[in-house]
């Protein structure tokens, strides 16, 4: 048997495949065995109860989707009393995901959610920072650093910073998150997009704009994963558009230590466990003892055609 386990700082996962926040819940236990997954990542919650964005909340775009779910949240109390106990029945590490509008609220929530049963905290810093201009924390290195430092001092649990593809400063934001004390980066969240129903001339999402996820996002978040893996020394968790084994291999080769699968679970709900099996079969067929020789193995010094380079010299 190939050893698929990967280390994310102090945390060891039995395999590198886990769900992406917001595309997974208790409900998936009705279709597959959650213990087969490397980790279990909850939907982002806020401290207070929230309704989320108006419907329609999803729409389809060519081969992918947009969503403007927002963060409907039953709040921290419900999470501690219901969600957490549910996941205690599984041995895959359970990861909470949190969000807040200000640095202090964020840190306080982080502290209050640092309870037994939570193996790591994913901090969704792709949400708007209402103290500044409403731009997400992860849009800028400075706001990323500020929030991460405060979060770091609020918990001893591993902190995963979830970055946004909407920023123009991916590497700088990644470095700020590392400097602020992140144990790992999740790269990345959805990309702000839009679709219009030409018949009614209304935006297809009740919130006008929403986040792109699914296969269309992959080349972008794969590029970000590569940039982040080059820029920081903490592990990177690739996320965006994963739909098959090849996608996972691309992320690992680009430098990701683990991956999150989101939208594809909506299309094929059992895909994550299928992918675990396929990854094991691949590693076996390639004669790999574990995944270490795969992770970060991109041959980026040899991408260009030799003929082209020689002709120039």
């Amino acid at each position: 048997m190939v050893d698929l386990s990967v280390k994310l700082g102090q945390l060891t996962l039995k395999n590198p495949i886990m769900p992406a926040s917001g595309t997974f819940s208790e409900d998936l236990s009705e279709v597959l065995d959650l213990n087969k997954l490397g980790a279990l990542v909850a939907k982002t919650i806020t401290r207070e109860v929230r309704t989320g964005n108006p419907t329609p909340r999803v729409c389809e775009v060519r081969g992918s989707m947009l969503n403007s779910i927002g963060i409907p949240s039953k709040g921290l109390a419900y999470f501690l009393e219901n969600t957490l106990p549910f996941f205690r029945h599984y041995d895959s590490p359970f990861v909470a995901s949190i969000s807040a509008g200000t640095v202090d609220e964020f840190a306080k929530l982080c502290e209050d959610i640092s309870v037994p049963g939570v193996a790591a905290i994913e901090v969704n810093i792709s949400c708007p920072n209402i103290e500044e201009d409403g731009k997400a924390f992860a849009m800028r290195p400075s706001s990323t650093l500020a929030v991460m430092e405060k979060l770091r001092s609020a918990t001893d649990l591993p902190l995963w910073a979830k970055l946004s593809p909407n920023t123009g400063e991916t590497a700088e934001v990644a470095q700020a998150a590392e400097e602020g004390g992140a144990d790992a980066l999740v790269v990345a969240n959805t990309l702000l997009s839009m679709a219009i129903d030409v018949r009614t001339r209304k935006p297809k999402l009740g919130n006008l704009m929403g986040g792109l996820s699914g296969p269309a996002l992959k080349p972008i978040t794969l590029r970000m994963t590569y940039q982040c893996a080059k820029a920081v020394s903490i592990p990177v968790i690739g996320c965006g558009g994963i739909a098959n084994l090849e996608d996972i291999l691309e992320y690992l080769i680009a430098g990701a230590t683990a991956v999150q699968v989101g939208t594809s679970t909506f299309i094929n709900p059992t895909i994550m466990t299928t992918l675990v099996d396929e990854l094991a079969a691949y590693a076996e067929a390639e004669g790999l003892a574990d995944l270490s020789s795969l992770i970060g193995s991109v041959r980026d010094g040899e991408a260009a055609d030799q003929q082209f380079l020689e002709a120039l010299s």
Binding site: G22, T23, F24, S25, D27, L28, S29, E30, V31, L32, D33, K43, T51, G52, T55, P56, R57, V58, C59, E60, V61, R62, G63, S64, M65, N67, I69, P72, G214, P215, A243, N244, T263, S264, T265, F266, I267, N268, P269, T270, I271, T273, T274, D277
Partner: protein
């Protein structure tokens, strides 16, 4: 890309699993009338433990012309565990259903289900009244079957644009239901006429529960009549879906429970809801 004929791991029914991704084989896919098509599938037994009102989430095929991405929710029109058969009655509305219409006998079709919460028939509900329109009747067909199995009396008011567009009335009749057809064509489907008709039934034979789906007009009418005559009821509702399993929270609708507004997921708490809690739109 995730493929239509990727073998879904959970096709093997495992302990504790409730919904299954399964590959079915198309038996037939024919037009039922001008507007609707009937897709009949050969389906594995373990996915056919269904309740009337539940639905499946369908992975429509990808072709040169249609590239649907998300699954499409579709009510169960007919299921038969013994025969290993599952059927959907659908209207070609857009890309996904247009792709469904291209399915040919022998082809594979990936379905996920059964999903959601179906209709209830309480022991004390002996006289059931079903009022539906158009494809909504599809959702109600398995209810008629279940009512027949339980030996309840069922009256179905079937509403459509025209006599020709009336669907499933034969199906309802064959299940022993009393069928009343109303159409726009002859004006009999108007709210006033329906109100008279239903109050007549309440007076003559008694009605213990209402069942309906989809139409805001019918919802309002039945809510009023239900409140007035103290008759409970259920309604099946629709909403855009992504996961179909309760995970993504895209399919919520507002309901009024004990004077408070709550948002419930059509795929998980529904698609069938209490008639009086539903909110008009």
């Amino acid at each position: 890309m995730i493929h239509q004929d990727m073998d879904p791991a959970s096709a093997r029914p495992e302990a504790g699993l409730k919904a299954f991704e399964a590959l079915c084989t198309v038996k037939s896919n024919t037009s039922a009338n001008d507007d609707y098509r009937l897709l009949v599938l050969e389906a594995p037994k373990h996915i056919l433990n269904c309740q009337p009102g539940q639905f499946f989430h369908l992975l429509c095929p990808v072709t040169d012309q249609q590239q649907p991405y998300l699954r499409r929710p579709m009510s169960i029109y007919r299921f038969d565990a013994d025969k290993g058969e599952l059927a959907f009655l659908y209207k070609v509305a857009g890309e996904g259903t247009a792709a469904m219409a291209t399915l040919k006998p022998g082809e594979l079709f990936n379905v996920l289900g059964p999903l959601g919460v179906g209709y209830t028939i309480k022991p004390e509900w002996q006289n059931l009244l079903l009022v539906a329109r158009g494809v909504g009747l599809a959702t109600l067909a398995p209810l008629a079957q279940e009512a027949a199995r339980l030996g309840r009396k069922l009256t179905a008011i079937c509403s459509a644009r025209s006599e020709a567009a009336l669907l499933s009335t034969e199906h309802f009749r064959s299940l022993g239901a009393q069928v009343i057809s109303v159409t726009d064509e002859d004006g009999s489907s108007s709210v006033e006429n329906l109100q008279t008709l239903i109050e007549g039934l309440i007076g003559s034979q008694g009605v213990d529960a209402f069942y309906t789906c989809g139409s805001n007009r019918l919802l309002k009418l039945l809510q009023e009549l239900g409140a007035k005559h103290n008759i409970p009821g259920e309604i099946a509702l629709e909403q855009q879906m992504a996961c179909g399993l309760g995970m993504c929270q895209c399919c919520v609708r507002p309901f009024s429970q004990n004077g408070e507004v709550v948002h419930l997921r059509v795929c998980k708490e529904g698609p069938v809801f209490d008639l009086q809690e539903a909110m008009g739109w």
